[in-house]
Amino acid sequence: MYNKSLNELSAALHSGEVSSVELTQYFLDRIKRYDGEINSFITVTEEQALASAAKADKSIAAGQAGKLTGIPMAHKDIFCTDGVKTTCGSRMLDNFIAPYNATVVEKLEDAGMPMLGKLNMDEFAMGSSNETSFYGAVKNPWDSTRVPGGSSGGSAASVAARLTPIATGTDTGGSIRQPASLCGLTGIKPTYGRVSRWGMIAFASSLDQAGVLGRSAEDCALLLEAMVGFDEKDSTSVERDTEDYTSTLSKPLDGLKIGLPKEYFGEGLDAEVGKVVEAAIDEYKKLGAEVVEISLPNTHLAVPAYYVIAPAECSSNLSRFDGVRYGYRCEDPQDLTDMYMRSRGEGFGSEVKNRIMIGTYALSAGYYDAYYLKAQKVRHLISDDFRQAFEQVDVIMGPTSPVTAFKIGEKTDDPVAMYLSDIFTIAVNLAGLPGMSIPAGMVGGLPVGLQLIGNYFAEGRLLNIAHQYQQLADWHQQVPAGYTD
């Protein structure tokens, strides 16, 4: 049961082979059994999950159910859930019971999916290893001494260990794709503006985008279909019809033009990881695709530009956490300034403070042009690189992460080394393009991800390209040892 696809689960629910309550209980039991070790959940909402499962069973019995009805899932703890603790992985929100639902939460609730709980993450989504969470590091199910990636580390680890069939995530600089890569999952970050950001706690507003971490492209397509769509509550939401991603999954790839950016295969890339990625791309040739080398000449500037833009936006976005209306307030503030300083100083962890300070500095008088304005211009150059590339090719492929899952603690004292984990993913967010990571092989028993980057709104095409590969390869079917019974 744990390794079934969403389509299989849906069929089992509709045929009466299993009820949603049974299925939900089954995954709740797996969480109880395994999550002590992995630490992927911050909150498990057992009662609520079973209640909505019972409701789902009624809809199924009444013949009013959709494809996703009754299939349990879990949300990254960055999405506000009405009446349920929503922490964003931070002490700042340890006591925060969200008083409203994110649009994504609302949509999946409407689709009839019981929510198993809220998933661990890097604090305010700032991290690439899930070590910055106030609720402790998440362990990679493939090797519990290693990180699952971040910031959607809880999402990745929980799906990898099959504690939930599928999970939501968010991706600001690689936070879906990199953990998907490190945990052997399929992850998709759609085009910026495709999924509503309403109720998704902001890290960097012009980069943040919600998406999915699942077993397969087919699973991701099913969930993403239910998540996307225009939302009048989000000014940056794109007015565009929803799409049927599942119906185009099986389109043949004859004549597909794949671009390989030479910058993604040079310095910084682990040689073994590189080989796995190249092998996967060779498989695409068998599917009728043509591979050409391309150049994204400003790739090396993506990380520098990102570490101005994202901190600048976050320094402002996180100003609302001031201890006045919700969240953490320090004990016995001496005066107003003391309340601000200590509530924020004690409520935020050190990586969040690093980023707030970098952003504050970059926006401050005398530095704005040299940092923020410069970064926005570089962002334009990076975006232009992709625009030119997509005049030649249909999809860009390369590694998701330069290395496989690294050891817990390995990079915690060196933020710059940590930031370079995202060298291949960050440019996609700067441009606002859709990106995916799919499992493409193993190095030393650890998963390697292949990254697919599409043109704007090419989610359907990306899922199709990923799905076709998953018809040949079975990396996505593999479950880490120790979680198979």
């Binding site: 910026y192 006045v324 100083g345 933020p415």
Partner: protein, 95 residues
């Protein structure tokens, strides 16, 4: 690019973040490292380049001027650190 301890104190105050005195140097080192990374941008000329604030080339959508929200004070204040008579309480604001 290297930030001094004083600069870190100034930035931390601007961002209203209390930082233990013994950690100031660690922050200074880490932030300086990040600024060195960021400084790579200097190598590229951008005089003729327009800044890009948003990924999509869209313009702001406007909503109709309609009141859609109703009073939810009790629900919102249930999660507040300190309230009285419907007001949020904070240490005395001196003007």
């Amino acid at each position: 690019m290297s930030l001094t301890a004083d600069e870190v104190r100034k930035i931390a105050y601007l961002a209203r973040l209390s930082i233990q005195e013994e950690n100031i140097q660690t922050y200074a080192d880490k932030l300086s490292g990040i600024l060195d990374l960021v400084a790579q941008m200097e190598a590229v000329g951008t005089d003729q380049v327009e800044p890009m604030a948003h990924p999509q080339h869209m313009t702001q959508r406007l909503r109709e001027d309609v009141v859609t929200e109703s009073n939810q004070r009790d629900k919102f204040q249930a999660i507040a650190p300190a309230t009285e008579a419907g007001l949020y309480l904070v240490p005395k604001v001196i003007e």
